[in-house]
């Protein structure tokens, strides 16, 4: 027979266990980790998780150790030995019924408490962000500031956000691993998930994902969440409220005067050891600031905070390679003014896309492009937002993102859905112009 089953079993289990610890150690390399929460909700969940992990590991070690011991101790030694023909043992049965029951009680009680705390109605004064799921991109609306954007949101640190989740088509699910758990977007239902991002945290970008299978491009339905200082947020809002305009000089600065009233951070970080108290959610008692008077362009230009590209972390910048099928002359220099004409003309972009301030561009099928130039990524986080990618996207969006409903606009391009080659469409120079226009929309 085999030598020592214990040894052989220990090898795989051991290796994985070691590797497990090794990896759990360095969370820095895991930009979407759920182990390092940055909000009250995240921490409430993490508190439960730690407890589950503790008991789970305990049970795991107990059972596997017992198994390994029994395998080693009672492996066949001698065929003549006749083991005792025991049929059972009532006290034992009772013990190993009760112990799990007790363990589960320790899990169930905080679970139920957390459920009721985290699913309470969002506190008054929370900032509302309406989330609309589309195949396969995200539409965001700030009703309190009448700001509309797509696939990228800014939220002020320390201010409770109430996400109101709805879908325009199939089911989707809204997830920012580092900030909170998931909530589904379901037709004929309005869902909420709310939390307060920590007041003390980096001004940085978090990845968001769609986590309910929603069809072909479910894998490419990402979004970005930028946590910023309240003052910066105010400045960003002012900027977003401004209509799309050319060549806005985007200054990371934020003169106080130009920012609308912003709520101060409301929740001190909660100590994790505080046990149950750790699951109490912050209840900021603040009233939403009045939407500021729609600012003039110049005012917005003065104060238009956008997270500078240099401080966008690498994990928030897509690395999806360009499909080789689409060729484009990247040395072409476009003319934004002509691009604007094409946008509402030959390009027919306005059929689906809106650009505030451009009366002719009011489409609602596709993402709002008012400030597309300021966004990190395009295609719902699939490609980095720069000229080469924009150009190819416009030229043949359906090869860039299979299943995409955005039509193939380039002339003489193969449309994988219609299975035909386009006879009409935009020439490369025209596309370059549109790209210039879009990039100018900061």
């Amino acid at each position: 027979m085999i030598g020592s089953p214990r040894l052989r079993r220990l090898i795989p289990l051991g290796t994985v266990a070691v590797l497990a610890l090794a990896l759990a150690a360095c969370a820095r390399d895991y930009p979407n980790t759920t182990f390092v929460p940055h909000s009250d909700l995240g921490r409430a969940i993490d508190f439960l998780w730690k407890r589950l992990l503790l008991f789970g590991t305990a049970v795991f070690i107990l059972v596997e150790a017992a198994l390994i011991f029994i395998i080693w101790r009672y492996r066949r030694r001698n065929d003549d030995i006749m083991p005792p023909q025991t049929h059972g043992n009532v006290p034992l049965e009772i013990t190993w019924t009760l112990i799990p029951a007790v363990i589960l009680a320790f899990i169930a009680v905080p679970t139920v408490r957390t459920i009721f705390v985290t699913q309470a109605k969002a506190p008054a004064g929370a900032m509302v962000i309406e989330v609309y799921g589309h195949q396969w991109w995200w539409e965001f609306r700030y009703p309190q500031y009448n700001v509309v954007t797509a696939n990228e949101i800014y939220i002020p640190k320390g201010r409770t956000v109430d996400f109101v989740l709805q879908t325009k088509d199939v089911l989707h699910s809204f997830w920012i691993p580092q900030l909170a758990g998931k909530r589904d977007l379901i037709a004929n239902h309005i869902n909420h998930i709310w939390f307060t991002p920590d007041a003390k945290m980096a001004t940085t970008v978090w990845n968001g994902f769609c986590t309910e299978y929603c069809g072909t491009e479910h894998a490419q339905m990402h979004f970005r969440v930028v946590t910023v200082e309240p003052a910066q947020f105010g400045s960003w809002v002012t900027h977003q409220q401004a209509p799309g305009f050319f060549n806005a000089s985007v200054t990371p600065a934020n003169p106080p005067g130009a920012t609308p009233a912003i709520v101060a951070p409301t929740n001190a970080p909660i100590p994790e050891q505080a046990g149950v108290s750790a699951i109490r959610m912050a209840q900021p008692n603040v009233t939403p600031p009045p939407p500021p008077a729609t600012p003039t362009v110049t005012q917005a230009q003065l104060a238009s905070f956008i997270l500078p590209r240099t401080s966008v972390p690498a994990y928030a910048i897509p690395h999806t390679p360009l499909p080789s099928e689409i060729s484009f002359n990247d040395r072409l220099v476009g003319d934004a003014t002509n691009g604007e004409k094409l946008f509402v003309g030959a390009g027919t972009c306005n059929a689906c896309h809106a650009v505030a301030g451009n009366a002719l561009a009011a489409g609602v099928i596709g993402p709002n492009l008012t400030h597309v130039g300021s966004r990190i990524a395009i295609g719902a986080g699939m490609y980095v937002n720069d000229a080469p990618h924009l150009a190819r996207w416009i030229k043949n969006a359906r090869i860039m993102k299979p299943g995409n409903i955005m039509p193939t606009l380039g002339k003489g391009q193969y449309d994988p859905q219609a299975k035909t080659v386009t006879s009409t469409g935009l020439s490369d120079p025209q596309i370059a112009d549109i790209v210039a226009y879009l990039q100018a929309l900061r």
């Binding site: 027979m1 052989r8 198994l67 023909q85 899990i107 679970t111 139920v112 894998a219």
Partner: protein, 638 residues
């Protein structure tokens, strides 16, 4: 005290001596292993027309193993694609079809039928019956499964495979968002497979209630039969629910009803409730038979009766009951409200208790034993080790707030592969290695078997353990690719290597299986020195199973049995006599059930393609059904 050795001494070449524990019981020398093994004679026809539960079981086994390979191959392609970031082995559309069909195949075409193979082959042998209650219905179930399986599996070869995920959530699967025929195959295919499972369910419930040999009281039933019994009830009570849930979708897609039409007020959550009301019992349908097999293997190789038999029975029943009260734990993210979340969270946790009891009783069975680590026993022990891991991650999901971080991430994928692969599949492999000799009269190669086990065990953990991390580090499931720099690369690479390893392991198994069938050592009636009824008859069993119906006096007739058991065992092992010689009537062979099944599936094809085919198939089906019902099951005999 006087000891009597029962059970031959062949096959593994290890002493399988067992005390009867019955004082003064005369020694029993069984017929030695035959030099040659009689295999089922008769050509292809005898398989098409068979009503013999053993042959039907064999058909199930081969078909299900084939589909297991297919589902595995699909998984291998999934892993190939995910082996590195932004890889494009297959298109997004194909990837979505692959994971949908991988899940559907493994659950409905691999594991359930593998269990069915054991129901068919074992239940009559374990309860001392000559066949199932309705032999022809049994054949019908198999053929419906085979044709239905092909119906749902073939489209992917043409790029039209179902692509809605294995639970096909609406509205994604309605015409509006899935206009193609892909989902039609899934919707109709599941209806077909449901018919097969339901027919088998009625059949086995009746068999177990009504065909137990004299003295085989419920509390003497082998635990595998017990777990199968519970499973059949789960099938019979849960399949109608999904039948309706999917029938609505069928109506929506084919006849323009509005059940899942959001614009008309249709509610996607209704579908989810109907699906998971079936779906959760389903997962216990997948694992309870494995529980049963493990509970047969461990006692034999520990030379001890199952520890806490009654508790094992009751916990099995309890799991079955609780299984109907936890479905919404698959819906913690849909916003059911705090009350529902709490209720379903807690009921879900409760299931851990009876399941734990089972784990501990298996440990108790091995403890103080003389555990002989044959391949079968290794798989059984591996089952206990791995299922526990999957169970614990299950309990981690059962806390709704915590699940908000876990749901629809790879952490879930890790959970259900530990319970499905580490649980169901490991248990079923234990069963295959254990019962192979009884099925084919030959031993499987232990060397290859152990290679299979260790490759499988290491590969399994290498594949699925890292998924816990990719999941908790934020990787959503059902994504055809992922970007680099997300911290997921290393885990995915491990999973992919692991998958290849499992693939190799599986090929070793396939090789061993066919090699041993041809040239394995002749087994003899009871190569493992087991104690239950199926081992009192020759391997493979004669068509009539038992020359004399045994009179059962204990749970392990060959270990604890009285004179009567030993006596009938001795007679039953004197094989060679034909049914006629013994004056036993057996059902006729008949091809009618196969035709009925074929035309039934053809009707569904007609529903998809053209009305005339539908009508024609319906007619043909009625005719074959009439022919079936009006022809006698077996010769008259007075």
């Amino acid at each position: 005290m006087a000891t009597t050795v029962i059970g031959p001494n062949v096959g593994t070449g290890v002493d399988t001596g067992i005390e009867t524990g019955v004082p003064g019981l005369k020694p029993f020398t069984p017929s030695p292993a035959p030099a040659t093994v009689h295999s089922y004679k008769g050509g292809i026809w005898s398989w098409l027309a068979t009503t013999d539960h053993k042959k039907i079981g064999t058909l199930y086994l081969f078909t299900a193993l084939f589909f297991f390979l297919v589902g595995g191959l699909e998984a291998e392609i999934l892993r190939m694609q995910l082996g590195a970031p932004n890889r494009h082995v297959v298109s997004p559309e194909m990837y979505n079809q692959l994971f949908t069909m991988h899940g559907t195949t493994m659950i409905f075409l691999a594991i359930m039928p593998l269990s069915a193979a054991f129901f068919n082959f074992l239940i009559p042998l374990q309860i001392g019956a000559r066949d199932v209650a309705f032999p022809r219905l049994n054949a019908f179930s198999y053929w419906v499964y085979l044709f239905g399986g092909l119906f749902i599996s073939i489209p992917i070869l043409f790029g039209h495979g179902p692509d809605g995920g294995w639970f096909g959530y609406v509205p994604l699967t309605t015409r509006a968002y899935s206009p193609g025929i892909n989902i039609d195959f899934w919707v109709l295919g599941l209806q077909i497979l449901g018919i097969s499972s339901l027919a088998a369910g009625f059949n086995f419930i009746t068999t177990i209630i009504n065909l137990r040999a004299p003295g085989m009281s419920l509390m003497r039933m082998p635990i595998f039969t017990w777990m199968s019994f519970v499973t059949q009830f789960l099938i019979v009570l849960s399949f109608p629910i999904i039948t309706i849930g999917i029938f609505f979708l069928l109506m929506d897609r084919f006849f323009g009803t509005q059940f899942y039409e959001p614009a008309a007020g249709g509610d996607p959550l209704l579908y989810q409730h109907l699906f998971w009301l079936f779906g959760h019992p389903e997962v216990y349908i997948l694992v309870l038979p494995a529980f049963g097999l493990v509970s047969e293997v461990l006692p034999t190789f520990s030379k001890k009766p199952l520890f806490g038999y009654p508790v094992m029975v009751y916990s099995g029943i309890l799991i079955g009951f609780l299984g109907f009260g936890v479905w919404a734990h698959h819906m913690f993210a849909v916003g059911m409200g705090p009350v529902a979340d709490s209720v379903f969270g807690v009921t879900t946790m409760l299931i851990a208790i009876p399941t734990g009891v089972k784990i501990f009783n298996w440990l108790g069975t091995m403890a103080q034993g003389q555990v002989r680590f044959t391949t079968a026993c290794l798989f059984a022990a591996g089952f206990v080790a791995l299922f526990t891991i999957g169970g614990i991650s299950g309990v981690m999901h059962s806390s709704p707030p915590a699940d908000l971080q876990q749901t629809d991430s790879y952490f879930i994928v890790a959970h259900f592969h530990y319970v499905l692969f580490g649980g169901s599949i490991m248990g079923i492999f234990a069963g295959i290695y254990y019962y192979f000799p009884k099925l084919f009269g030959r031993m499987m190669d232990e060397k290859l078997g152990k290679t299979h086990f260790w490759l499988n065990f290491v590969g399994m953990n290498l594949t699925f353990f890292p998924m816990h991390f990719s999941g908790m580090y934020g990787m959503p499931r059902r994504v055809y690719t992922y970007d680099s720099g997300q911290g997921w690369d290393v885990f995915n690479r491990m999973s992919t290597w692991g998958a290849y390893l499992i693939g190799v392991a599986t090929l070793v198994f396939v090789f061993n299986f066919f090699k041993s069938r041809r040239m394995g050592k002749p087994a003899g009636p009871n190569p493992w020195g087991a104690g239950t009824l199926e081992w009192t008859i020759p391997s493979p069993p004669p068509p009539y199973n038992f020359a004399v119906l045994p009179t059962v006096t204990s749970r392990y007739p060959l270990w604890e049995g009285k004179e009567a058991d030993v006596e009938s065992a001795r007679i039953n092992q004197q094989s060679g006599k034909t049914a006629e010689q013994l004056g036993i009537v057996l059902p006729y062979d008949t091809i009618k059930p196969m035709f009925a099944a074929f035309f039934l599936v053809l009707m569904f094809v007609g529903l998809m393609t053209n009305r005339w085919l539908l009508a024609g198939a319906a007619g043909a089906m009625t005719i074959s059904l009439y022919a079936w019902l009006t022809s006698p099951l077996e010769p008259e005999h007075h």
